[in-house]
Amino acid sequence: MNLFEKICLHRALKQRIADNHKRLYRTAYSWGHDPDLAADLAQEAIAKALTRVSQLREAKKLDSWLFGILINCWRDHFRKQRDTVDIDDVELQHDDTPEKLKQTQDMVDSVRRSITRLPEGQRQVVTLVNLEGFSYAEVAEILEIPVGTVMSRLSRARSTLADYLLTYKTNQDVNPGKIESGRPKLRRIK
């Protein structure tokens, strides 16, 4: 590859990295449900990717490489911030929902709360597969776990979500706080 081709490739890769901002933000949001944290993590992942683009060996693996950086930013954040918050204190932001969309909005809130209650590993797998459309092999690469673990985590996650959400659909009223009644209060690392 000559110099000119190299420069063009770098520019194209950097463009693709920048184009992934929204996906990174959405994924980070789905993991923590904190818009500010998600924005910081997405920004950090992009900044790191832009400076490390020369380390990317195969251009076709850019997406999984980029989300691998995001997961590392997420882990780094945990390492630095060991404080915890009550799961019930997590507020899901929804502004001015029109009346007619209330039912849908309730469901959206409920899904997000249910996702928040999943163990972190399951939450990450289900969002990477479901929201970002990564293949199992790519998720395995991003999270550095075997494909079998991806499949089992995904399976457990969807099964748990089905218990929460499809029950909700029939009852039309769910309070995830009540789902866990009788169990110790759930906490998550912020």
Partner: protein, 244 residues
């Protein structure tokens, strides 16, 4: 692969929904679903979950704080990414800015360079020097070159505006307690009002987190909310960007 008595695991059913099954397995599963109502219901249940999870994140909230910054930052990424290009060793020249081309080392040691403005002697040349290292050699070259450019522009009565932005380890350049360049920076600032030093607030917060103490900056140092947003804003405003 045939699954006896349609005893498919949830893993296999999910793999079907996520298009991860080989075509033969997929075909077999579809056939089995035709005759097994229970199997169909299991797949439907998982598919419902899959769909509502996707639906729940189609419209997600913007960050609560610094929303405008994030938006602007996002809008600028593509420009930045498209224009940052030059890596050490492949910079061919400095497009006429001979001041930096002498035996300086500044351009040679730059990690990236982005030239936004055409070279026009009558126009104000705005340069952002972004320093992320506390390597004494780099910092010395940075200050030497900055001073040389400021001096030569003044001599030739040309306009230049230079901002030195520090984050990461580069923040040590501007910290009152760690910078060996306090005196020199003060002199530069008093001699040239077209030179500004800026520290990244995020880097300062990280230092505070690590040391438990507030970061004290050299006098007259400005603070930007984040180095990245500062770079993007400057880039948008047409500043030449050089990362040291």
């Amino acid at each position: 692969m045939r699954h006896e008595d349609f005893n498919y695991s949830d893993e296999i059913l999910n793999a079907y929904l996520d298009d991860e099954l080989a075509s033969e397995e997929r075909k077999q599963l579809i056939e089995d679903m035709r005759v097994d109502n229970g199997l169909r219901q299991r797949v439907c249940r998982l598919e419902q979950v899959r769909n509502i999870v996707s639906m729940a994140y189609q419209d997600i909230p913007e960050p609560r704080h610094g929303q405008h910054i994030i938006k602007r930052r996002f809008a600028s990424y593509s420009n930045l990414a498209a224009s940052i290009l030059v890596v050490v060793g492949i910079i061919g020249g400095w497009f006429g800015h001979a001041y930096l081309q002498k035996d300086t080392g500044l351009v040679e040691m730059a990690e990236s360079v982005q030239l936004n403005t055409p070279v026009d002697e009558a126009r104000l040349w705005k340069v952002l020097l972004h320093v992320t290292s506390d390597d004494p050699y780099r910092l010395n070259v940075l200050l030497d070159e900055t001073e040389r450019v400021l001096r030569e522009y003044r001599t030739k009565q040309q306009k230049v505006s230079i901002q030195i932005l520090a984050n990461g380890k580069g923040l040590n350049l501007l910290r009152n307690d760690t910078s060996p360049y306090g005196q020199r920076i003060a002199e530069l600032q008093s001699n040239y009002d077209n030179l500004v030093f800026t520290a990244c607030a995020k880097a300062m917060a990280r230092v505070k987190q690590k040391t438990g103490k507030d970061v004290q900056l050299l006098p007259d140092t400005q603070v930007a909310p984040s180095a990245l947003s500062e770079v993007l804003n400057r880039q948008k405003e047409g500043w030449t960007y050089i990362k040291i």
